[in-house]
């Protein structure tokens, strides 16, 4: 007799946001853009930015500690750490190793995963495999990005969007019928030029000229990314729901990448899904890339928007291009 697959479940969630608030009005003054134009174009009213001394691990550790506390799990019980991030503390070692030490965890494997704004969904999907094959029992997954340190502060199209934060969850085996019911991830490398940080890797080492040209910062073709994101959020959410055998009408909450309100609204129109059942918090935080979904999830749980037995969907899209969607029965 074959055994039932063991689903992963999220048993604790925590977030960390820098204290400093950057409003549209401040950006309007700093960069000759209009505050209303920013909100009309993005849905963002304000965002958080780290100070010069803060790095990815500083936010990631706090988010992890909060997730552990909420789950009632001690750091010593963690079997594996996965950190989804675009710009970790340094090129090497991984931010996951730095966070491991700071949490006082010894010897367990720790690695970073790069899938931009889809990073958290990718990381959950990877973590869930270790739960399914019963290789590990307690997995810490962190999404952290410091967009303010990735953008070119003279490029208004990106500096109004990206922001800083970290979110973390603990995965454990779910009780039967609960947890991750279906996972879909994908990528299309032909879209890699739509959103990239060209310099800083082995292709284009950073030189004074590169810094002058800002090629070590985010370069974005907003039009291409918008149409990709809109279409793909709808498509991959639909695919994941089909794989889970769940009807759209039975979904209680969708938590999409918080890239841009107009992308979310357009994709939900395409999916024919009501915005009342979509989690949006980008008005307060902007696009925190890999951190957006776990922070939105934490807020939804805290606000009582997710109850045991609810069906929720986490859907991410991002640079690569990459996409992923996970259908979860909560509890």
């Amino acid at each position: 007799m074959s055994r039932e697959r063991v689903n992963a479940a999220i048993v604790g969630v925590g977030g960390c946001l820098p204290e400093k608030v950057l409003t549209n009005e401040e950006l309007a003054q700093m960069f000759s853009v209009d505050a209303e134009w920013i909100e009309q174009r993005t849905g963002i009213k304000e965002r958080r930015t780290a100070d010069a001394s803060q790095a990815a691990s500083d936010l990631g550790v706090v988010a992890a500690e909060r997730a552990l506390a909420q789950a009632g799990i001690s750091a010593s019980e963690v079997d594996l750490i996965i950190v989804a991030t675009t710009l970790g503390d340094m090129q090497t070692p991984s931010t996951a190793c730095i966070i491991q030490e700071r949490l006082g965890i010894k010897n367990v494997p720790a690695f970073d995963l790069s899938a931009a704004c889809t990073g958290f969904v990718y990381a959950l999907t990877v973590g869930a495999q270790f739960i399914a094959n019963e290789f590990y029992r307690t997995i810490l997954v962190i999404g952290v990005d410091l967009g303010s340190k990735m953008v070119n502060w003279s490029d208004r199209d990106t500096c109004i969007l990206f922001a800083d934060g970290a979110g973390a969850v603990l995965l454990r085996p779910a009780k039967p019928g609960y947890g991750f019911l279906a996972m879909q991830i994908g990528a299309d490398g032909s879209g890699s030029r739509s959103l990239q940080i060209p310099a800083g890797g082995s292709r284009m080492p950073v030189t004074p000229e590169i810094i002058e040209a800002k090629l070590n910062k985010v370069c974005m073709n907003g039009f291409r990314i918008f149409s990709f994101a809109m279409k793909k959020i709808a498509e991959v959410t639909e695919q994941a729901l089909t794989a889970a055998g769940i009807r759209k009408e039975d979904v209680n909450l969708i938590i999409p990448s918080q890239a841009n309100l107009r992308i979310i609204e357009a994709s939900m129109r395409l999916l024919e899904f009501p915005m009342e059942k979509v989690m949006v918090n980008l008005d307060k935080y902007g696009n925190m890339s890999a951190a957006s979904i776990p922070i939105a999830l934490g807020e939804a749980v805290a606000d009582g928007r997710i109850k045991p037995g609810d069906v929720i969907v986490l859907t991410g899209v991002g640079a690569g291009t990459t996409w992923g969607s996970i259908v979860i029965r909560w509890g």
Partner: protein
Amino acid sequence: MATIDQVRDLILKLKKKNITAADIKPEARLVQDLKLDSLDFAELLVLTEDALAAEVTHDDLKQLTTIDSVVAFFDQHAKK
């Protein structure tokens, strides 16, 4: 359904507060009259691709300046 009606439905799907069905006349200009911005065009691209089951390039999109031109584009691709 006449093509103009198909295009009217598609533009209304953008859910722009300032656009009613009566505004979507053949001569209406997408940018100047209907006030579509670049993000609306990105959405229009996806909706058009869905409606025609065909790829719409950035160059195609540049030709779409009026409702009439969108209707002509639909007619041209529907025949293929």
